[in-house]
């Protein structure tokens, strides 16, 4: 067997393997979020049904908001890597669009969440400093990663054009 062909095939298999891993992880992550939410709210509801403080509402809103954002993000990741696993080439406009959507969700989710929770923290008593730093870090991470994915989506579109060229040449 030709060495280059062998390398290409094994690289392709490794790539598809990692894509499959990420796809399955995203599915497990979505299920995990749902289970975590059910468990958290069932325990907390039975514990604090009589007295509910503002800080509890803040924490519940924080958990719900980021669970929703991460659930949508996991959905996008699942779709992107599911398609990457099956597609002949990674450079298709469909994947590029999905990647742009993922970038926007991450960036907007980070900006909105960071603003809301850092602002609310100032008006709610009984919250430790940890609840100021944590939303701020998550917000920044989401913004940076979101913008990186938006840039990658643009690069993917360039890759799609190259793929088109390559297909037409052949």
């Amino acid at each position: 067997m030709d060495n280059n062909v062998k390398t290409d095939i094994s690289e392709d298999q490794r790539f598809k393997g990692i894509c499959g891993l990420i796809h399955n992880f995203a599915v497990a992550f979505k299920i995990g979020i749902l289970i975590l939410l059910v468990v958290l709210f069932l325990i907390n509801l039975t514990d604090t049904l009589s007295v509910i403080y503002m800080s509890d509402i803040f924490k519940a809103a924080f958990i719900l908001y980021y669970s929703a954002v991460f659930f949508i993000v996991a959905g996008y990741v699942e779709q992107i890597f599911g398609r990457l696993r099956k597609a002949e080439t990674p450079f298709t406009y469909d994947i590029a669009h999905k990647m742009k959507g993922l970038g926007y969700i991450l960036a907007v989710g980070g900006i909105v969440g960071g603003d809301i929770f850092v602002l609310f923290h100032l008006f709610i008593d009984g919250l430790s400093d940890e609840w100021f730093g944590f939303p701020l870090i998550i917000s920044f991470v989401l913004m940076v990663v979101g913008l990186i994915f938006t840039a990658f989506a643009l690069i993917f579109e360039h890759g799609c054009k190259l793929q088109q060229e390559s297909d037409e040449t052949l």
Binding site: Y93, H97, D129, G133, F152
Partner: protein, 175 residues
Amino acid sequence: MKTVDVNKRTLEQEKQYLKQTSGIVRIEAVCFAAVLIMLMVQEIISAAPGDGESASALFWVKLAFLPFQAASAIVATRFVINMFKEIENGETPFRYSIADKLKGLSDAILGGSIVFAAPYLVAMFVYSFTGTEGSPTNASAVIMLGGLFLGVLFKTLSYIFGYGCKLQQESDETL
């Protein structure tokens, strides 16, 4: 605002969009590293013992890991800045040097996730072995899993970049 169909966008327009996004990413990456280090320092200051109090185990562990955390944040930020600077200045984003930088970034994120989660893990062991009071949050698991996931994601993208480099080479040779 005039919108252009993505399939009909010229390479020049795409490069323009990419340059704008790259510039924002670079600024954002620097801000992120600065805020991250500031928050880490602030967390240590708030955990510092008062007069006559003895410092908790978590305080010392966090203090010991702070230089490593700062270093890993700077390394990851440098990878992001250099990569996007090269993307901004280059003719095409599909170059092997950029694919290598992306691979480096994924390694930095994987290493960083361990360094950032380590203080909480170490403190957890110290608390369980010494039986002292205190509850380090489960932030370690969140940081570690999130970092590992992001690291693997970027590693996959670096493979795709490698494939893109081959296509670019083909395209250049055809021309």
